[in-house]
């Protein structure tokens, strides 16, 4: 069984790769390459896979999941310029793809102390027209 939790954060980012020329950056990222940055209201959907505990009827403690997301993701990302203020993106372009992978890496080990549940997927919606999904691995 899969249970999903949704949280939101707002942040700004600059989509420019240091290995590319200005012209290439403009071509690859379009308006998102603006060096002065731009921002989004991101929606993060975290899906957890597991079986309900026979006693509690719950796959995992949702309050604890909320705390993990708050401490490991929202407190780091919310109302920040991702390129400058989130260490993961010092040398990595904070595209929505890389944001999903970074969120996975931040929370995977902390999902469930009991070993009953595991992280299944991280979906990040950058706009209502674009989202990515990462399920771990290469």
């Amino acid at each position: 069984m899969i249970i999903s939790k949704k949280v939101e954060f707002s942040a700004s980012h600059i989509c420019r790769a240091s290995g590319l020329s200005d012209a290439e950056n403009e071509r690859v990222y379009g308006a998102a390459a603006n060096p002065l940055s731009h921002g989004h209201n991101y929606i993060v959907e975290v899906a957890i896979e597991g079986e309900p505990d026979p006693v509690t009827g719950m796959i995992l403690d949702l309050k604890r999941l909320k705390d993990v997301l708050e401490e490991r993701v929202l407190s780091v990302y919310d109302h920040r310029l991702l390129n400058r203020e989130v260490p993961s993106f010092r040398n990595l372009v904070p595209t929505v793809e890389n944001i999903a992978i970074d969120i996975w890496q931040r929370i995977e080990r902390h999902i469930d102390a009991t070993g009953r549940a595991r992280l299944y997927s991280v979906r990040v919606h950058e706009t209502s027209e674009l989202f990515v999904e990462y399920r771990g691995g290469a």
């Binding site: 290995g19 590319l20 990222y29 379009g30 929505v96 990515v132 990462y134 399920r135 290469a138």
Partner: protein, 141 residues
Amino acid sequence: MVSVSRKYAFCATHRLHAAGLSEVENRAVYGKCNNPHGHGHNYEVEITVAGPVDAVTGRAVDLTALDALAMREVIGPLRYRNLNEEVEAFRTVVPTTENLTFEVDRRLRAVWPEVFPGGVPRLEKIRIWETERNICEVGGL
């Protein structure tokens, strides 16, 4: 591997009427969608691709290329059209959301390797919303 889903929209007219059925049967099967004058929808098309994240760009898909492809093959040819009358594929096939989803999938797959050499990222799934409550999906099943 990351999957990326991108949504587009177009408006079009269609009429659901199967040539092999009688007038009565058509009305029974399609209800008010069988109205001989046709009717329209605001369609939404979601294209999902899957591939590795490029180490330099941080992208799994060139969105500029995907947008151009979607515009050229799907949105441009279908928007503000009468699907039955103006889209070749629906001269003999009923433009249900199911058949429309197959048609969009076929159009994209036909040119996918030209736009994305080696088929990377791969075309994973097409979803079409005919209304907020009618959604059809092909691929990725």
